[in-house]
Subunit: 226 residues, 2 copies
C-alpha cells in the first residue's frame, strides 16, 4: 500500500511539473528535461508512468475528470448538477485541474489531441442523460447528445469567462446560473422541483470531496466504509 | 469617399496582419516590425491608425463586435437570436473575427486586456435584455446581468468546442441548441412562440450580412436605401 501511495505521489509530481511547464512555455516548446528537473524525479520514474511528452499532456488533460465516481443520488439529474459543482470547486482549488482545462482550450497547443477532453466530458454527461431519460427524469423531446455537448461547451466557456473577469471567484454562482437556465428546458417538472442547484449544495459537495481526498492522501482507503 | 474607403482598407490590412502574427507567434512575442512587413504598409500609416502593439490588440479584439446595428425586429429577443447567428456566421467566414476570439481566449496573452471583449459582449446582451424586460418579453424573475453573462460565456465555450471538434462546421447547430435550451427559461410564452431560432433564419441572416458587406466594400453606402 505504501508503495502504491508513493507511485500515486510520483505520478502527481510529474503531472504538476508538466502542467507548470506547459503553462509557462506552451506545450510545443516544453521539454521532457525541464519537466524532469521541475518534478525532481528520475528519468526511469518518468518513463515508468509516461511514454512521451504527448503522453504527459494526455495525463494533464485527463486530470479534469474525476477519478472517483460521485456519491449516487436519488435522480441522475442531481448527480449531473453535483458534477458541475465539483468541477467548479476543483477548478478553484487544484492547479492541475486548471492547467488541464487551460491546455484543452489553448489553441496554440497543436500536436495535442485537444478534442479528447471535450469528448470525454460529452461522453460522461451523455451517459448520465441517457440514464435520466430512461428513468423519465428528462422530457421526451431532449436530444441527449445535443444537450451533453451544450453542457460541456457552455461550462468550458463560463469557466474561461470567470477566470478572465475575476480569477474564478464567482464560478459557483455562474454554474448555478447555467443550471437554472438549462435544466427547466430538459427536466420533467416533478424532478426539477426536487433538484438542489443552490450554492449551499455546492459548498456541501466541496467539503465532502476534500474530506475523501485527504483520507486518500493519508494512504487510507478512499471511502472509510468500504 | 474614395479616401475614406482606402483608410478602411488600410486599417483592415493592419488588423489582418496583426491577427495573423499574434496567432502564429503569440501576442507577447509579436513585433510591430513583423506586422508592418506582413501588412505591406508604411510605419506612418500604422501609427495613423494604431498607437502601439496593445492598441492593435484592442483593434483585433474589437473586430468580434458588429460595427453596424442589426436590422430591428419585432421583439428584442429575436434581435438577440439574430446576433448569435451572425456571430456564428462571422466566426465561420472571417479570419479576423476568429483571431479576435482566439486572442480573447488565449490565456498566454498577458499584457492584453482580455476582459474587455467579454465585458463588451455582456454589455451588448444586457442592453438588449433590459429593453426586452421593459417590454415584457422576458419573465419577471430574470436577472438581466446573470443571463447576459451566461449567454456570452456559454457562446465562447460552444464556439471553442465546435472549433476543436470540427473546425466550427456545426457552429450554427450548436447556437440553435443553446438558444433552444436557454430561451424557454427567460422568455414569456407568447414571445417564445414567435421566435425564429431555426437554421433557415441563420442562413437568411448570413446572406443579408454578406450583401451589405459587399456593397460597403465596393465603396457605396452600407444601406442602399439611405
Amino acid at each position: 500500500m505504501a508503495q502504491q501511495a508513493r507511485a500515486i505521489r510520483t505520478r502527481r509530481l510529474l503531472l504538476d511539473a508538466a502542467a507548470a511547464v506547459f503553462g509557462e512555455r506552451g506545450y510545443e516548446r516544453a521539454t521532457i528535461g525541464e519537466i524532469l528537473n521541475r518534478a525532481g524525479v528520475t528519468k526511469g520514474a518518468l518513463y515508468f508512468h509516461f511514454a512521451s511528452k504527448e503522453d504527459l499532456a494526455l495525463g494533464v488533460l485527463g486530470a479534469q475528470l474525476l477519478d472517483e465516481p460521485l456519491t449516487p443520488q436519488e435522480t441522475k439529474l442531481q448527480e449531473l448538477v453535483d458534477q458541475g459543482f465539483l468541477l467548479a470547486h476543483r477548478l478553484q482549488t487544484d492547479s492541475l485541474v486548471r492547467a488541464s482545462v487551460a491546455l484543452a482550450l489553448d489553441s496554440g497547443a497543436t500536436g495535442v489531441d485537444r478534442a479528447a477532453p471535450f469528448k470525454a466530458w460529452v461522453d460522461q454527461v451523455a451517459e448520465a442523460l441517457t440514464v435520466a431519460k430512461a428513468r423519465g427524469e428528462i422530457l421526451p423531446h431532449v436530444n441527449v447528445l445535443d444537450t451533453a455537448e451544450l453542457f460541456s461547451g457552455a461550462f468550458a466557456g463560463i469557466q474561461t469567462m470567470s477566470q478572465v473577469l475575476c480569477d474564478r471567484k464567482d464560478l459557483t454562482h455562474r454554474v448555478v446560473v447555467l443550471l437554472q437556465h438549462v435544466l427547466p428546458s430538459i427536466s420533467t417538472p416533478a424532478v426539477l422541483t426536487g433538484l438542489d442547484m443552490s450554492q449551499e449544495r455546492a459548498r456541501f459537495l466541496a467539503a465532502e470531496y476534500e474530506e475523501v481526498r485527504q483520507r486518500r492522501e493519508e494512504g487510507g482507503p478512499a471511502n472509510a466504509e468500504e
